[in-house]
């Protein structure tokens, strides 16, 4: 059973697809043509290094093609493209979390738009997707139940830091990853990190749940099915890992 929360601690949701082969005809000069299609909705642009800090360069290219970000005016929605990937983010600003289903619809719309662009511009029959990723990034800071890193256990009851003497009571920083193979094609990565909140400079718990996996067939229906299963895996992990007390009192579940 899926549980939706009225006030979930989610800060960012990321959906990404990685292609079977990089689109080698896709060059920096084409990025402007693509941007022109989405610019009304995504007027802001930023360049970043490619995921994995790689180049994936093609012949006759002087400079490596970066990863491009296109953002809405309020920076809530973000499209990221690089030669071998298409990624869509929702980021918390002022609006409430719209939940998975509407965001998946938006992802589908924008990916379809990108795929059509590639069909027209490069003559591709379709984009074959090899890997998918779904990430939920929760940031918890300055709450009644979490004020400092001594209180991580209030949020995640199974969290126990390594201990060698009483000094570990004042744990100052941690950066932990756990990887769980949940289904044949879905691995769940749980990342826990101590961070500082950018606005308040207070302790912030970074709690990321990321599903990733390879598709057995590079089709859209296979990807859709994968995302739905990955969503269930993440929901189950979130409900199982976090305190039921905090869920009930603060995040407030509403059953579907």
């Amino acid at each position: 059973m899926r549980i939706k929360y009225k006030h979930p601690p989610i800060n960012e949701l990321v959906m990404g697809v990685y292609f079977k082969e990089p689109i080698i005809k896709f060059r920096s000069e084409h990025v402007g043509i693509y941007w022109a299609i989405i610019k009304d909705e995504f007027p802001k642009s930023v360049q970043n290094i490619m995921i994995g800090n790689v180049d994936i360069q093609v012949p006759s290219e002087i400079f490596p093609m970066p990863r491009f970000w296109f953002m809405t005016e309020d920076e809530v929605y973000l499209i990221q493209i690089q030669r071998n990937a298409f990624i869509f983010n929702w980021r918390r600003r002022d609006e409430e979390y719209p939940h998975y289903e509407p965001l998946k619809k938006r992802f589908d719309k924008h990916f379809s738009q990108f795929e059509n662009f590639c069909k027209e511009e490069f003559g591709l029959a379709r984009i074959d997707v090899e890997r998918c990723e779904l990430s939920y990034i929760n940031i918890i800071s300055d709450e009644e139940y979490f004020r400092s890193f001594d209180e991580v256990k209030n949020v995640i009851p199974s969290f126990v830091p390594l201990s060698f003497n009483d000094k570990t009571k004042n744990l100052s920083h941690f950066n932990i990853s756990y990887v769980y193979p949940c289904e044949q094609d879905v691995a769940l990565t749980v990342n826990l990190q101590s961070r500082r909140h950018k606005k308040t400079d207070k302790d912030a718990l970074y709690f990321e749940l990321k599903s990733s996996g390879s598709l057995s067939q590079p089709t859209k229906s296979e990807a859709d099915s994968w995302f739905d299963r990955a969503h269930v895996v993440i929901g189950g992990a979130f409900n199982g890992l976090t305190s039921h007390e905090v869920q009930r009192q603060h995040w407030q579940p509403r059953k579907n």
Binding site: I24, V54, P59, S212
Partner: protein, 204 residues
């Protein structure tokens, strides 16, 4: 002798020679220059503190490999393929230059339309094995990929985006070699290669 009232103009090499490009030689200097600029860009990115790091780099050589996220592994694999592709592409381009030089020396020429189509084909799909490229009597270029089992992709670039092809594909279950030949467009030949599952000859 009175001193000149003006300084002599400094004698400097043209900007492109200062940058390491020699247009009078072959094009490999340009490739080396591009590689050097890429290395600089990568180095800059690595040391740019404003860019968040995705991996923790060790200060020592460890006997055990750290866990690398599958998405990052995927990116590295594709980067490796892209590097092999660049190498194979450059080798193919060098071979075309060699054939053009030889033909020129013997008073012949290479069809520019055929060369353009071959380069467009090579620019449009990933291959990590360089093809054998030969010059035919009619001035067209032919590219051939084959393996030890006798499978092959033979393409004659006729110009005008037309390709004459000969494909041999082994049908393992039936135990014979399927053969296909004919003429197709540049875009169509991609589909022919995929239909016969021969793309692997270009990447194996």
């Amino acid at each position: 002798m009175p001193a000149s009232v003006v300084d002599p103009l400094p004698v400097t090499a043209p900007y492109y020679q200062q940058a390491g490009i020699n247009f009078e030689g072959d094009e490999w200097n340009l490739d080396a220059f591009i590689e050097q600029r890429r290395a600089q860009a990568r180095k800059k990115a690595r040391y740019d503190e404003s860019i968040p790091k995705t991996t923790v780099e060790s200060l020592t050589d460890l006997a055990a490999e750290p866990y690398v996220e599958p998405t990052e592994q995927h990116a590295r694999k594709q980067d490796d393929i892209a590097r092999k592709y660049l190498k194979a592409f450059r080798a193919a381009k060098a071979r075309i230059m060699e054939l053009k030089d030889d033909a020129r020396a013997e008073g012949y020429g290479v069809s520019a339309a055929s060369e353009n189509d071959l380069l467009a084909f090579l620019n449009g799909r990933v291959f990590t094995r360089r093809p054998f490229i030969t010059l035919l009597d009619n001035g067209n270029l032919r590219a051939l990929w084959k393996n030890a089992e006798g499978e092959q992709i033979g393409l004659q670039f006729r110009g005008g985006k037309q390709v004459q092809y000969v494909l041999f594909a082994r049908r393992k279950d039936e135990g014979f070699m399927a053969r296909a030949s004919g003429r197709d467009s540049l875009a169509g030949i991609e589909r022919q290669i995929e239909a016969h599952n021969l793309g692997r000859l270009m990447t194996a």
